[in-house]
């Protein structure tokens, strides 16, 4: 996969409360901007992959929104990694040679449901699964982590607050983010309680939004843009559920993330992620998730992630900026769009196209990572992409 496919255009709508827009409206916004940026029309694209968790059932959501003439559209759904999987399938199609130009586009219209947080609807079943919210499901990482590494709950709280504060601060500098203000650490810690450990400010928002990418074969990229982004690795581990089946499986880590990251590092030739990556956009659905991801992605040593967070290593001006766009915390999580939103930040930052006030110092680094998690620990899928501005020297 390495360097066979290139991104030639991307767009991302503002994420937030789009009370006046439908899913179709958001798709039109994201697609139109993506086409315009590279001078293509919808008819120039050979095939489309549409990621949406629940805003549409089939590809028709896109074909009818864009009034596409005789184009294939595949609807993709893979829980919260839906947008990433749409991107992956578009890349695979291009890499196969069957498709010259493909679009991956993701959308979610969550604000119309009126529900608190994300919900799911299950097929008919025996109703032995428990009813629990996402913050509780991901919050379970926190006590297990604290127990494992002897962290007292007050220190853990400090770490979670730091993570939320960092992502709020990054988002406040990014006009596309849902939240534009930075709550104080005290406000974070005294916001309404969601679980025993998590406050409302520990949770990603609920937002509407869409994002899109056009991909072509790497050798064709120069026809469209001077500075494409090459796809270095796409790895996707759809978990077998082991973490909630096998007793004594560690609960302070997400094994699917560890394995998807290792596959991606091997494919992209990343030896030391903290040294080699210019930025990482990770799935900070809740603050404990981002803490555990720092270790599972190899950014911190086991048991050290919390120290690195407090030391500011993952701040926008830190050793490895994590979620410099504001992350799920500031953007909210329109599911089908989130994975593409992460790539969009790599698209801006690696090509030095971010606004100067929030452009990170690349220090010669050319690669960025996105990590998109779907489903809670033990019952999850993990996607990792690595993209970069340079073709590898040893490319054949």
């Amino acid at each position: 996969m390495r360097d066979r496919v290139a991104i030639i255009s991307m767009a991302c709508t503002p994420f937030g409360d789009h009370w006046d827009k439908s899913a179709a409206d958001l798709l039109v916004d994201a697609a139109t901007e993506t086409f315009a940026a590279v001078g293509l029309s919808p008819q120039d694209v050979d095939a489309y992959w549409l990621g949406t968790k629940g805003s549409g059932d089939t590809g028709k959501l896109l074909s009818q929104a864009l009034r596409l003439a005789d184009k294939p559209v595949t609807r993709v759904e893979n829980v919260c990694a839906t947008g990433s999987d749409a991107f992956r399938n578009a890349c695979l199609a291009v890499a196969s040679g069957e498709v010259d130009i493909a679009m991956a586009i993701g959308v979610e219209k969550l604000k119309d449901s009126g529900y608190s947080g994300l919900t799911r609807s299950n097929p008919p079943n025996d109703a032995t699964g428990i009813s629990m919210t996402a913050p509780a499901a991901f919050g379970m990482l926190a006590p297990a982590y604290a127990q494992r590494y002897g962290l007292d709950l007050a220190s853990l709280r400090q770490v979670l607050t730091r993570l939320a504060w960092k992502n709020y601060a990054n988002g406040a500098a990014n006009p596309r983010a849902q939240y534009q203000t930075v709550p104080s650490p005290e406000a974070i810690e005294h916001s309404p309680r969601v679980t025993d450990l998590l406050r409302i400010h520990d949770c990603s928002g609920v937002a509407d939004g869409a994002a899109a990418a056009i991909v072509v074969r790497a050798e064709d990229a120069a026809r469209y843009v001077r500075d494409p982004l090459y796809v270095k690795a796409l790895s996707f581990v759809v978990g077998n559920g082991e973490g909630l089946v096998r007793d004594h499986t560690e609960f302070s880590s997400i094994p699917e993330v560890v394995r998807s990251a290792q596959q991606a590092y091997d494919a992209a030739g990343v030896g030391e992620p903290r040294r080699d990556l210019a930025l990482a956009e990770v799935h900070d659905c809740f603050t404990p998730t981002e803490l555990v991801l720092m270790e599972d992605l190899g950014f911190s040593r086991r048991g050290e992630g919390w120290r690195d967070v407090l030391a500011g290593d993952f701040d926008r001006d830190g050793a490895l900026p994590v979620n410099p766009d504001g992350g799920l915390k500031s953007f909210g999580h329109p599911i089908g769009a989130s994975g593409l939103r992460m790539l969009y930040e790599c698209w801006l930052q690696l090509r030095s196209q971010a606004p100067p006030e929030r452009q990170i110092d690349l220090q010669g680094r050319t690669m960025g990572l996105t990590q998109n998690l779907g489903g809670p620990p033990g019952d999850c899928v993990s996607f990792v992409a690595i993209v970069g501005t340079q073709l590898s020297e040893n490319q054949t």
Partner: protein, 491 residues
């Protein structure tokens, strides 16, 4: 009205059937009468009552009582489930109890529902089965309610009790039974009504006393005994005045009243006769006789005689139970449907679809997963392919119903819709293998810790808008009071 001859015949030929096991279950929750009194300014009694949790009903409580005496090496061949407050009409609840107990399909699971008298009916029916040579289990449970502020509300108690009858290793022989049937309108409840109604007790007090004395005389006569031969008496019934009068009269003859913790638990309705049998046998010496009287639309009596084997039963190993917890009057009203909580802006929980629930009944009702024959990995729920070694269709059944587990991690979920917030999802690792994400119940949220020991308990997860009861298992803390396991809680 004499039935002495047939009863005598029973006694002579069938005295080798009797109680072979008994157990009880009391929910952890206690409502103080003071909390209801604070709300209404009424002069209720002092004490507490047992309250079924928001996730309990007569069926789930019956499972908890019965599983404490069922021996899977010799399972009952007949199961009677009695309740005056059934969760279903037309559909059996006894079969739910049967499924949760993991009993063989050849065990007949039969309901005695509706009337309070069903509690004694189940005991008599089970004993009759034992007389006919079959092991039979009677289990009874009620969830006692009353209109807010009423005497029924604070006087009731939610308890389940089970008594097993058979012909081997008898703990107490049944010497005789006696009945006196009485058509009287002292208490009634229309099928669609939430609460029962009662008439002035004084109108029927003497009728009940007369019925009780007739039924007692019949049983004593059949057993060839007199009142002076009775060591312990227990009088059940919702008619307080008649119970007091009958108890007084029997105690004047020298018998001692069985302490059934009524000041703490309340009056358990259908479960009271079986509860009295158990409480009585807990205190009886070998050779002592017990007279159980149930007053409900007449009187039914049973005379039992403790055997030396009783002590063995009382000393058996029993797992530990969680401590009692106080429920606020407000939550009690919500649990009883008297108050409606604001609807959470969350979807309704899943209701069981009939065919998946039937297909997965071993899992859903008996908490039976699978264990890989090749590598030993336990799968909860059961699966066909081993998560560890990938072997296909190499599974045997493995239940964690009666195994202890340890909390691996947890959260208190304040956002989830619950009648007893916060809901408490926990990951549990079981002794002997297996892991399950499930709910914790009967616990003080502030006290939950990683490493807590838990056991599984059969619960009502939710009720669908169509009235479908969704049952599954939850974890509950293992407490410190080993000796009171069969009570379900600390005394």
């Amino acid at each position: 009205m004499s039935q002495e001859d047939p009863a005598m015949a029973d006694h002579r030929t069938l005295a080798n059937a009797g109680v072979t096991g008994y157990s009880r279950y009391v929910p952890v929750w206690r409502l103080t009468h003071a909390s209801a009194r604070r709300a209404w300014g009424t002069a209720g009694a002092r004490g507490t009552r047992a309250v079924a949790g928001h996730d309990e009903d007569p069926t789930s409580m019956a499972v908890e009582a019965a599983r404490r005496c069922v021996r899977h090496s010799a399972p009952p061949e007949v199961l009677y489930f009695a309740t005056a407050t059934p969760v279903y009409l037309e559909k059996s609840s006894a079969t739910t109890v049967h499924a949760a107990l993991g009993l063989p399909s050849s065990t007949a699971a039969l309901d005695c529902s509706g009337a309070t008298r069903s509690g004694m009916a189940a005991l008599r029916a089970a004993w009759s089965e034992a007389v006919a040579g079959r092991r039979a289990l009677a289990v009874a449970a009620d969830v006692r309610s009353g209109a807010p502020g009423s005497r029924d509300e604070w006087a009731g108690g939610d308890v389940a009790a089970a008594v097993e009858f058979g012909g081997e290793e008898i703990l107490a022989r049944v010497l005789a039974t006696g009945s006196s049937s009485l058509e009287v309108l002292d208490r009634w409840r229309a099928p669609q009504a939430r609460h029962g109604r009662s008439w002035d007790e004084r109108a029927s007090e003497q009728l009940y006393v007369d019925a009780a004395m007739e039924a007692i005389d019949i049983a004593l006569g059949a057993a060839g005994l007199s009142l002076g031969d009775i060591a312990w008496i227990g009088v059940a019934g919702l008619h307080q005045r008649a119970r007091s009068a009958v108890t007084r009269r029997l105690c004047e003859a020298g018998a001692r009243a069985i302490d059934d913790r009524e000041h703490e638990l309340g009056t358990p309705g259908c479960a009271q006769p079986a509860h009295l049998v158990g409480r009585g046998l807990d205190g009886a010496e070998a050779g002592e006789r017990l007279l159980i009287v149930s007053l409900a639309d007449g009187a039914d009596t049973m005379i039992l005689e403790a055997t030396p084997d009783l002590d063995r039963w009382r000393r058996r190993d029993r797992p530990e139970s969680p401590p009692a917890l106080e429920v606020s009057y407000e939550r009690f009203l919500v649990w009883r449907g008297e108050l409606q909580l604001d609807a959470a802006r969350r979807p309704d929980p899943d209701a069981p679809a009939p065919s998946p629930a039937a297909r997965n009944r071993e899992w859903k009702f008996a908490l039976t997963g699978s264990r890989c024959e090749d590598c030993g990995t336990v799968h909860l729920p059961p699966g066909r392919v081993c998560v560890r070694c990938s072997a296909v269709d190499r599974m045997t059944s493995h239940s964690v119903r009666d195994r202890e587990g340890v909390v691996v991690t947890f959260q208190l979920d304040y956002l989830n819709a619950s009648q007893n917030p916060p809901s408490m999802p926990v990951v549990v690792d079981f002794e002997g293998g297996g892991r399950l994400l499930c709910e914790l119940t009967d616990a003080d949220p502030a006290a939950v810790r990683i490493g807590d020991r838990v056991r599984m308990s059969f619960r009502r997860m939710s009720v669908s808008p169509e009235g479908v009861q969704n049952y599954f298992w939850k974890a509950r803390p293992v407490g410190a009071a080993k000796e009171s396991w069969e009570e379900g809680t600390h005394a």
